[in-house]
């Protein structure tokens, strides 16, 4: 056996478990969902084996013309999910971008300690961390109690079960995902370029806009993608902090599968979310390709 084919065999053997796992638990379910999204919902759950394009029509507001009227409620939920996810991206960016510069400036020992702190929340249950926010934000929660005691307000503020509460929870969860890619690009920023910019007459603001921000942009975009995608589909945060209302796509999908037992519609929603992600990623990769790929992002 030649060295090359032996190498190939080795690689095949090493990759087999992962490949089999992904085929069994990712590709196959994905195909099932894709097929399911074009089937007629069964009367008592499940699906009828019959082609039915109205699952997608329903998302856009035009459902089965026999039974339903035009209703853009799902579009509204889709739009709200996008808005909340985008605001989450914006807020995590505002928190992480300046912090990344501060951490990058620290001596090596403190840097590693800070990165450890960033990773620390992963050791605690997500649900526990979210319920802490319930205790803080609810009518009789810590924040309202303190403000009432200080006589800054005379009746409790409505903070929990609002979009604001959801965004707070999302930001809280996704800060590490935004921080790490930004930090990676700030860390490798060549400060000689900043000096060169100043030397050529650019003040701090111009230097930031023309040199520092463009050079750290790959990290920002990377962070934005890995925050936006899970935030869009997240259903735990709206469940805990958004009250019982259906607020975001994640909840809607969960509801269709578990409560409404309308699997075809749930599948169609999931497909739509995935398609939206793929389009966004595709556009990003295209523009990156034009700008010259950045090895930092690995895309």
């Amino acid at each position: 056996m030649s060295a090359r084919s032996r190498q190939r065999l080795e690689l095949g053997v090493l990759l087999t478990p992962a490949t089999l796992f992904l085929i069994a638990f990712f590709v196959v379910p994905l195909v099932i969902m894709m097929v399911m999204s074009f089937l007629m919902p069964g009367l008592y759950g499940g699906a009828e084996w019959e082609f039915y394009p109205h699952n997608f029509g329903r998302i856009l507001g035009f459902a089965d013309p026999m039974f339903e009227e035009f209703d853009p409620v799902y579009l509204a939920i889709f739009w709200r999910s996008v808005r909340i996810a985008a605001l989450t991206v914006l807020c995590t960016f505002l928190v992480c971008y300046p912090a990344a510069f501060q951490v990058a400036r620290l001596p090596e020992r403190w840097k590693n300690f800070c990165l450890f702190l960033i990773a620390l929340p992963f050791f605690t249950s997500l649900i526990v961390r979210l319920f802490v926010w319930v205790l803080l934000l609810r009518q009789t929660g810590l924040i309202n109690e303190v403000l009432l005691d200080l006589h800054l307000i005379d009746r409790p503020l409505d903070m929990i079960y609002t979009d604001g509460a959801i965004i707070v929870g999302m930001v809280y969860i996704y800060v590490p995902f935004m921080f790490l890619p930004i930090y990676a690009s700030v860390e490798k920023l060549d400060w000689a370029l900043v000096r060169a910019s100043q030397d050529l007459g650019a003040g701090p603001v111009r230097t930031f806009l023309r040199v520092i921000f463009p050079l750290t942009l790959p990290g920002v975009i990377g962070g934005a993608i890995i925050v936006f995608i899970p935030a869009l589909g997240n259903f735990v945060v709206p469940e805990v902090l958004g009250g019982a209302k259906v607020l975001m796509l994640g909840n809607l999908i969960e509801q269709q599968f578990l409560a409404a037992r309308n699997w075809p519609f749930g599948s169609a929603l999931a497909m739509l979310v995935m398609a939206a992600m793929l389009v966004a990623l595709f556009i990003y990769v295209l523009t990156e390709g034009r700008r010259g790929s950045d090895p930092a992002l690995g895309l």
Binding site: L193, A196, D199, L200, L215
Partner: protein, 362 residues
């Protein structure tokens, strides 16, 4: 308008070191750079030459002293408001901009309209021999080309002074030598002053109008390349610039007597104190006597052929190591020396420079 483009007065700056104390990178430096001058700051690493450059460009603050550029006090002026541009050691080209945008950056910041900017970018690139490469990215260029872009970028706004921080150190030898001449030519064409930092004495000697040799935060000597080479002010300058044979001793008439009993003759003017060091450059030794020149006898340890000449490494009877460079044309003599392992080195007393040995206190 004064003749000085830059004046430093008592420039002082120290940095803390981990051991607790502070080291002085600049110890009260006084320096003037004239218009159209090519001044080189030469010294070993850590001598303060880069700190001095950064003090002029504004990237470090002085603890004491002040800096005037073109007659104006700029001691507290931030870097982006100083009429000075820098060619950085590793070029520091903006990787996310094209060569044209890099070159035109200073003009863009200054608000020059894009049509004029394009014209001047084309001119600047042509000047450094990179005509038509505006749309390339810096990483698509070779090291030498990147160097030229850095140069074009720094001169496009016609600064009053161009600072160059070891710009040639990353280039290979042939390119480095070609760039020396180009830099010198460019400086003449532009008519602006260059302050050039290097640790390479050959660079300093070939390009400069004047050389400032720095050590431990002080200027050891400031003068023309010839003065620095032929008449070094201190033994540090003598050893850092060029190879040297130093004979530390006491002066007795027109002779310097060393402790191991060697007498070196010199007709050069006397230093004020009795403790002097005589300097004989390796190439001042000759294997043939003219008139009745004084000489030194050495045992030859090694003969090294370096192409244009032979290097003789040897020692005196007293064990003092000496180096001599003799022209490669004297092959027969070299053959004899290699056989006998002995050589008699003649020198001209008129060319033996005397350096006053500093007081022990320093």
């Amino acid at each position: 308008m004064s003749d000085q483009i830059v004046t430093l007065e008592n420039a002082t700056r120290s940095f803390p070191v981990p051991e607790g104390h502070r080291i002085y990178a600049l110890r009260g430096i006084d320096l003037e750079v004239s218009r159209n001058e090519f001044l080189t700051l030469l010294g070993p690493s850590g001598c303060g030459k880069t700190t001095l450059l950064q003090a002029i460009s504004g990237f470090i603050d002085l603890e004491k002293g002040r800096i005037l550029i073109d007659g104006k006090d700029v001691t507290d002026v931030p870097p982006h408001r100083r009429p000075v541009n820098t060619v950085f050691q590793n070029y520091a080209l903006f990787p996310h901009m094209s060569v044209g945008d890099n070159t035109g950056y200073a003009l863009e910041i200054a608000g020059v309209p894009s049509a004029e900017r394009r014209k001047r970018v084309a001119e600047a690139l042509e000047m450094v021999g990179l005509k038509g490469l505006e749309n390339r990215r810096p990483r698509q260029l070779s090291g030498g080309q990147q160097q030229r872009v850095a140069l074009a970028r720094a001169i496009i706004a016609r600064p009053k002074l161009l600072l160059l921080d070891e710009p040639l150190s990353a280039l290979d030898k042939n390119l480095r030598e070609a760039m020396r001449i180009e830099l010198k030519t460019l400086q003449h064409e532009l008519g602006i002053s260059f302050v050039f930092v290097t640790h390479d004495q050959e660079e300093a000697l070939t390009m400069s109008d004047r050389v400032a040799v720095l050590n431990a935060g002080q200027i050891q000597q400031l003068g023309t390349p010839r003065a620095v080479y032929d008449e070094p002010a201190t033994t540090f300058v003598a050893t850092f610039v060029g190879a040297s044979n130093l004979f530390e001793g006491s002066r007795d008439g027109n002779r310097v007597i060393t402790q191991d009993g060697i007498a070196i003759q010199s007709n050069r003017p006397a230093a004020t104190n009795a403790a002097v060091t005589a300097l004989i450059r390796p190439e001042q030794f000759s294997l043939v006597a003219a008139n009745d020149q004084p000489s030194l006898d050495i045992d030859v340890d090694q003969v090294v052929f370096v192409g244009s000449s032979f290097e003789l490494l040897g020692h005196t009877a007293g064990g003092r190591k000496l180096t001599a460079m003799v022209p490669a044309s004297g092959r027969q003599q070299i053959g004899a020396i290699e056989a006998s392992r002995k050589a008699r080195l003649y020198y001209d007393p008129a060319s033996v420079h005397l350096i006053a040995t500093p007081e022990a206190a320093e």
